[in-house]
Amino acid sequence: MTAATSTTPATGAVRIRAAFDAARAAKRTALVPYVVAGRPGIDACVDLVEQLVAAGADVIELGVPFSDPLADGTVIRNATRRALDDGMTVAGVLDIVRAVRACDVEVPIILMGYVNPLLAYGLEAFCADAASAGVDGLIVPDAQQLVALRSAASANGLGITMLVTPLSSEARIRELATQSTGFLYAVATTGATGARTDVADATLDLLVRARAAAAGVPVAVGFGISTPEHVARLAPHADGVIVGSALVELVEQDAAAAIARVGELAAATRTA
């Protein structure tokens, strides 16, 4: 059930799962770059995503800007604020996804955002429009308890990814893994998003626990991962690594450097 074996390309949760499976088959951890939708500009963002995929991204995580990104660090907050100042909206994010898909990008695209803009759009309408625009999955960190979101997502074939943290109990990890379709997100550290200088023991411990509890659901790790060394260190323990703030920071300075960095990170994804 991988994308390679189906005739019409798989979408949604299925496509996400397929991407992780393909990486695993290639003895790699899937590389999941995170970029803020609309940065460094609408067209530039479309180009950026296309080139990140060309540079080795297995999955793309697109941040949906929100005015009060509670769990995000300075880098992402600033990029978010600029995107909003430039007029980015939820509908605008879906336009970007459509444009990306029009460039024949086939990797899974996952939207990560806070719940309020989705509520304002309407959960049902949003999931339907997202799916038809080419979105495959959703991460909504402040709405893990929202059954209506899970229903709307699954009704439209969208994957839902829950987050677990070093503080989550075994039982809680199991519960959230069960609710996750596509993959489970292991938050590497407590604290907001933002690049860190090392990989904590707590992160490795979490990954061990999460993989054990996840019962086959792929586990991707994110928060604080910035260098190829981090990726190499984590690759054996995770089905995917998500690189957020470190990349967003590069994008804000020089998109070409970000693309180059993804190439370097991709080279570090071998798990064995």
Binding site: R77, T165, G191, A192
Partner: protein, 419 residues
Amino acid sequence: MTRQAHAPAQPADALDGFRLDAHPMQEHFGPYGGSWIPEVLVPAATRIAHAWADARQDPDFLAEYAHLCRTFIGRPTPLQDAPRLTSHAGGARILLKREDLAHTGAHKINNAIGQALLAKRLGVTSVIAETGAGQHGVATATACALLGIECVVHMGSHDIERQHPNVVRMELLGATVHPVDEGTRTLTDAVSSAVRAWISDPEGTYYLIGSAVGMHPFPTMVRDLQCVIGHEARVQSLALVDQLPNAVVACVGGGSNSIGTFVPFVADEGVELHGAEAAGDGIDTPRHASSIAGGRDGVLHGAHTKLLQDDDGQVLPTHSISAGLDYPGVGPEHAQLAATGRATYHPVTDAQAMDALEVLCRTEGIIPAIESAHAIHLAVELASTRSSDEVVLVTVSGRGDKDLSSIIAWREGRLGDAR
């Protein structure tokens, strides 16, 4: 002690009979409330919720809280007649509930002391708080000094400018003031910053929220602690005027003084509840902070509530001359009270509030906080349409000393010109 011949007929102590568990502990207030939080906060929020469920019905905890209320905060605060304000309004008799007399100058201390006691009970040695007007920051720094707990207060840099004396007070009390330079650099940004700091160490720190907002169990806990206002006011009203008030009025920022004032009267069907929201330049302008009058349902800082937002669900910048009301959301219990019609919420502009502030100064010798002046305006307006045998009770949530520079600037027209 025998009661003296000429002492007015007041209860022995209006705080008597107060209970922290008088009202149900709720995660949801109808469609509002909840725990819209990142997973990393779930264990801490859950632990706090359990601890509060336990503490609120523990007689020893209540005794310690009530003891500090009496000896440290100076409770019960008086309920006083306001004859000259009453004649100014020319209608119903106005009674003032004097939270401005509470230690540190506002109702915020009722909550800060209670939560600091809870933090101590949880064994936490470091507290994080946000502040807008600085009153909650000062209250938290005070509670932490009293109990020997470390304290970091997040405060928008715009608020640091307009509430400078409170910054100095926090520092004197040994707290660290953490400036927040994002967004509108006001209360909402300070809350986000404080929550992020809490996320960094949810086990080692306690997030001491300053209003009845945010994720469960904060709206319930802050309400429980602030209900001391309404409990006392109810007892005092019966003693002073032999009846319940016809209308109860309070200002609504996050909504803690108002929820604490309202809830003990909710079961009294005949008592109207009126909240004064900050209308800034007016709710028909983009510069206001009236979440109920001008907002729609949404999620902010962990709660589903009324929220000032644009069509795309982005939280709107707010404006109020009062830092303490300058917040785009409101406590979820207010959203429910508004939805069910049990309470009514009225926008009050900067100019109306500042006029009311001067009126209270000149008629009753009380300089209220600008926040509280919003409630005074509303109380006068309501009283003026009622008959003289009706009673309007208004909570003066705090004193205006912290606002002197804003008041001067307003009078000199600088704030007006900056529009």
